[in-house]
């Protein structure tokens, strides 16, 4: 299983190295979302400061969505979905491989967006002890849930519109929990933040479990 996961993740990262889609398109998009929000919310620092964590995670969410869409777009072209089913790869391995590849890209995005938030909105990242595990747990959750729905929609003609519809409500809890954890961390009551982190961990575990258990079923139907 782990061998298959490594194979799939390696393939995905090699694909990214050749096409540079995440680097050249998803990352700028993430920054763009951040800037757009700044516009939409008026150049009013008061509001911006208060809602920074929320905006950060909304930006992560939308650009993460794009990353997931891209990750499964490559599995949807010209019979690749069938080839994957016929490959003999362990579905759980494929799932873990996709999760790993997506998670790596998401983490890079988060760092980038973090810098963006610090610069654009003037946020102040101090309580790293909470921020880092929050990011890790949220990333795993996003990647796992994204992969479950990504493979579900892969190969469907309506993939581009169905995936966001299915994925966003599922990711809403991640958004809320991560935002709240960040707020607690930045606002100075990490106690509550740890509870939200707990929720994120539960979510990530839930979706990883779900993916491992059902990816076979989903892949069958790719």
């Amino acid at each position: 299983m782990l061998r298959d996961a490594a194979l799939v993740a390696g393939k995905d990262l090699r694909l990214e190295a050749r096409s540079r889609v995440a680097l050249n398109q998803v990352a700028p998009f993430a920054l763009l979302v951040l800037m757009l929000f700044a516009f939409a919310l008026d150049p009013d620092r008061g509001i911006l400061a208060r809602v920074t964590p929320g905006l950060y995670w909304v930006a992560v969410l939308f650009s993460g969505l794009l990353a997931v869409q891209r990750a499964f777009a490559v599995e949807s072209t010209d019979g690749v979905a069938d080839a994957l089913r016929l490959s003999g790869l362990d579905p759980a391995g494929v799932f873990l491989g996709k999760v790993a590849a997506v998670a790596v890209q998401l983490l890079a995005l988060e760092v980038l967006l973090g810098l963006g938030v610090v610069v654009l909105y003037g946020a102040d990242p101090s309580s790293v002890a909470l921020l880092v595990p929050t990011c890790l747990a949220a990333t795993l959750g996003l990647a796992a849930a994204g992969s479950v729905y990504g493979i579900l929609a892969a190969g469907l003609r309506v993939r581009e519109t169905l995936l966001p519809l299915l994925l966003l409500p599922v990711l809403a809890p991640v958004l809320i929990a991560a935002t709240s954890a960040f707020e607690s961390a930045l606002g100075g009551f990490p106690g509550e933040g740890w509870r939200w982190l707990g929720l994120l961990v539960v979510f990530a575990a839930l979706y990883t479990g779900l993916g491992l258990a059902t990816f076979g079923v989903l892949l069958e139907d790719g």
């Binding site: 194979l7 010209d78 019979g79 089913r85 003999g88």
Partner: protein, 234 residues
Amino acid sequence: MEPAVHLRGAVSLLGRFPALAGVDLDVATGEIVLLRGPNGAGKTTLLRCCAALLPVTSGEAMVLGHDLAGLTGPARRALRRQVGLLAHATGLYDELTVADNVAFWARAAGADRADAEAAMTRLELDGRLRDVAVGRLSAGQRRRASLAVLLARRPALWLLDEPHAGLDQAGRDLLDGLIGDGARAGAAVVLASHERDRAESIATRTVTIAGGTIVDDSVVGAAPPVATGARRAP
């Protein structure tokens, strides 16, 4: 020995349309079965059913000793690992090179890099094309890459959907040779084709399908072709 493919009254629905409307077919190992019939007859559907890519709604269906009806996850994987399907779609990642693609799919099926290299050499993809992204290849070159994947996987059941399409003369001869070699090595081959002359010359048996049923089933050649790479059995 039990047949590689054994179908009795197999029905397969696409949506509500019975693309297969009761098919009886047995394919033994070492056989090269040509599947012919008009457009929309159900050839592609039949091949996909054999690869367990489409469900058989009713009827008996055994492939390589596995009953397709009660196929659990691991058994399905084991079955599919032994099946090579050459479809219209090539199943390659456009943005990866030929070498990367062949290596990935070969290793996914448990073969190693050496098998992948050998397959590429066999299909004459080891030159300039090796490091060209698949998305840039010509139609026939792409088919060759897809064939290389099939070869590297060494399947026990070859399902070929119009395999000659797009290949040039040399490629066709090469393919016929590969099919003959595969059959002689004990693989069962089912190939759907409209290229009568070409396909009949390598097939050991011709099956005609129309309206989702087998309407004719006759042995053509007495034995699989003998010489490796022989363009046409005499």
